[in-house]
């Protein structure tokens, strides 16, 4: 489905050469929910922008369903961390969700239907007429998620989407993502720096090294598909997995030279 092979990104500017991403290879299978987690400043956003076609990689390539990504492909939707700056404040919520659909060849009725459906599935059916800035942060991020859903992407890219909301809202939004993923069978690549979030959400967690980034380890999360904030987070297996990821991240921060051998082969 989504193939990232030998991805490398070097920023050149004002005499400095910064190697943000060194060599990344991983795949995301159709209908998978994969979390990328790494230490702060490890080039997660750079990586995601390369995957989304917003940045051109220095070397390597990204392909979606066998087609090389060399610009934002129509089959991808992005949810950014900064929801307040990602929604357009001059448009009402419904128009924000509808705007990307106007670029597609869809009838007005079909667009309406997609917008209504997407807003309903994030629990904001009555908010279509409000402006984004009239909503709370969590609700704004729901609108951004609805916009992505209405776009009917093959892959949904989420860049630390819940880093800027409070803890309770965050738990709700995590459950929302899990539910949408199960209901709609979409493929999600979710970037986060929060270890618990990565383990709680993902079917698979890819641990990244510190910058310049490589894949340090891939872990299959063998928790039951039915997860909830109370029980999943106290399950012994959850604790084991989060400890494993935590150790890897700590090792990555110390800059341990050789990444540990992956204990699970990547799927796909």
């Amino acid at each position: 489905m989504l193939d990232v092979r030998g991805l490398k990104k070097v920023y050149e500017g004002s005499g400095r050469r910064i190697e943000a991403v060194r060599d990344l290879t991983f795949t995301v299978g159709a209908g998978e929910l994969v979390c990328l987690v790494g230490p702060s400043g490890c080039g997660k956003t750079t990586l995601l922008k390369c995957v989304g076609g917003l940045l051109a990689p220095t070397a390597g390539e990204v392909s979606l369903s066998g087609r090389k990504v060399d610009g934002p492909p129509p089959g991808m939707a992005f949810v950014f961390q900064e929801y307040g700056r990602s929604l357009f404040p001059w448009m009402r919520v419904g128009d924000n969700v509808e705007l990307p659909l106007r670029q597609k060849d869809l009838s007005r009725a079909r667009r309406r239907e997609l917008v209504g459906d997407a807003l309903a599935s994030v629990g904001l059916a009555d908010a279509a007429g409000a402006y984004p800035w009239q909503l709370s942060g969590g609700m704004q991020q729901r609108v951004a998620i609805a916009r992505a859903l209405a776009y009917e992407p093959e892959v949904l890219l989420m860049d630390e989407p819940f880093a800027a909301v409070d803890a309770q809202t965050r738990a709700d939004l995590e459950d929302l993502v899990r539910r949408l993923w199960r209901e709609r069978g979409i493929t999600i690549l979710f970037v986060t720096h929060d270890i618990d979030e990565a383990v709680y959400l993902g079917e698979r967690v890819i641990v990244l090294s510190a910058s310049p980034t490589v894949v340090r380890e891939q872990l299959r999360v063998d928790l039951p598909a039915e997860r909830d904030q109370v029980h999943t987070r106290v399950a012994p297996r959850f604790a084991e997995l989060r400890t494993r990821v935590y150790e890897q991240i700590q090792a990555a921060k110390r800059g341990a030279a050789t990444p540990a051998k992956a204990d699970m082969p990547p799927s796909g």
Binding site: R85, P89, W90, L99, Q103, W133
Partner: protein
Amino acid sequence: MRGPLLRLVFVLGLPVVLVAVWWAASAGSKDVYWPPLRTIVETFPDVWTGERWRGDVLPSVLRLAAGYALAAVAGVALGTLVGSRRRVRAVCEPVLEFLRAVPPPVLVPVIMLFAGIGDTMKIVVIATGCVWPVLLNTVEGVRAVDPVMAETARSYGITGAARLRRVVLPSASPQIFAGLRQALSIGIILMVISEMFAASNGLGFTIVQFQRSFAIPGMWTGILLLGLLGFVLSVLFQLVERRVLGWYHGLRDASRRS
């Protein structure tokens, strides 16, 4: 109930006081140049008859509207072009700053040379004066589009005309309106000045005529009318702005509260 009434008192209070002071201070004036306000007010309906409105006020306002509209369209169009291309901006910016620094009234004699002394000259004068604040503010506004918004638009394939219409221009609209507001007051000044140089009708022309024929109260009524015209236009502008930029004021209030 007290709210609106109090607001009305605040809004009207100072103007009423000022007019009253003027009225009282000028009441017994024998000075030819400073006639009593009472005389000016009494002269007003005699001077500004239906014919004057049609023959002088209307042509002035129409020329202002034409010049202003021309400047607005040209300013936003050029500003968008300059603002969205870094190369074009680098080339144009020093020239624009220079042109803006030239006081528009000095252009009147120059423009008279090629545009004559008719309506065209006056419209061109108004447009060349008004275009700079609109242009420069549009450049700034277009340049300052939030990078996250720009990336969002790009990731959803919103490009070309749709991007311009639904992302870039709305995002720049608060700045564009700031430019349009400055341009409005410049436009009124240039409307009057262009008519003082060479004209056969218009508000500026009439005021100069009164002054030259020592019809001093008449001259004062013209000045009052100009003030009122400026006031009405500014109120109209605010109404339009409040409609178009409703989202912006709401957004600002929302972020101030949090």
